[in-house]
């Protein structure tokens, strides 16, 4: 599984990597904001199985990134991972095309469960 981690905090990306190593055969790519993420996506024609996307980032935020991705890609799993916890924000992200939503702070187990749950929902659909 090839996962793209998009967060302006390198420490947070490392925490996510360590947690998601529990999934098994996983490789990671990283980006510090939405602009960088689009460049990484363009450089990976094979695509990603999953992207974890932070909301508040410089240059291009996570909501803008998800909207841009969904203009051409309806399939890649996108999970918003953010401190934005208001119901309206969650709905906004889901309407923009996020498949699921993870609120910070989170334990490593909770993140892994969220990813597994999202993958399982996709398989069941």
């Amino acid at each position: 599984m090839n996962i793209l981690l998009v967060d302006d905090s390198k420490v947070m990306r490392n925490i996510q990597k360590k947690a998601l190593a529990a999934l098994g055969d996983v490789t990671f790519a990283e980006a510090g904001d939405g602009v960088e993420a689009l460049a990484v996506i363009a450089q990976n024609p094979g695509g990603f199985s999953l992207m974890l996307v932070d909301w508040n980032m410089p240059n291009m935020n996570g909501l803008q990134l998800i909207s841009t991705i969904r203009e051409t890609d309806k399939k890649t799993l996108l999970i918003m991972v953010t401190t934005e916890a208001e119901k309206e924000r969650v709905l906004e992200a889901l309407r923009a095309g996020a498949n699921n939503y993870m609120i910070k702070p989170f334990t490593p187990d909770a993140l892994v469960e969220k990813v597994r749950g999202t993958l399982a929902k996709l398989r069941a659909a």
Partner: protein
């Protein structure tokens, strides 16, 4: 529309979300229990800390929230957060401090009673710094204690 906010309203409405978010973030991400001391009004902009992370609020809640640490506490907390030793004063170090403040402010935001956005964090590294705040908003200090040491969450926010 601005409303006059009394000290009592600040204490009741704006402090508890940050008390709860601080405890939750430190327990969940660092495995640290946090004891909260009595909040107080900050009367002078005294330089007390070595590192500060500043988060701006805009929208229906405006102002700034500052999370400040002494060096020894910051080192212990950053290492606990990262799960590894992080070089003090490096970019990864300031990134970690900023992300902790981001989560404390972000987790509190939903319980503040208004729609607001928070800025990406700005981190100041340096002993003896003073953070200037909006002059029309009282600054409430929440003193926090953990096994890693003491730190403070300072709140200068109001409903717009």
């Amino acid at each position: 529309m601005s409303t006059t906010v009394t000290k009592a309203q600040i204490d009741a409405r704006l402090i508890m979300p940050f008390v709860n978010s601080t405890r939750n973030v430190l327990q969940t991400m660092l495995g640290l229990a946090t004891t909260i001391d009595r909040p107080r009004i900050k009367s002078v902009p005294a330089p007390e800390y070595d590192y500060s992370a500043i988060i701006g609020f805009s929208g229906q809640i405006v102002g700034v929230v500052v999370v400040s640490f002494r060096r020894e506490t910051a080192i212990k907390m950053v290492n606990a957060f990262a799960g590894d030793e992080v070089e003090p004063d490096s970019s990864d170090f300031s990134d970690a401090i900023g992300e902790l403040a981001n989560m404390i402010a972000g987790a509190a935001k939903k319980d503040l009673g208004g729609v607001a956005s928070i800025s990406v964090p700005t981190v100041i590294l340096g002993k003896g710094h003073i953070v200037a705040r909006p002059s029309d908003i009282p600054c409430m200090v929440i003193p926090c204690k953990t096994e890693a040491g003491e730190f403070a969450v300072e709140i200068s926010i109001k409903q717009a």
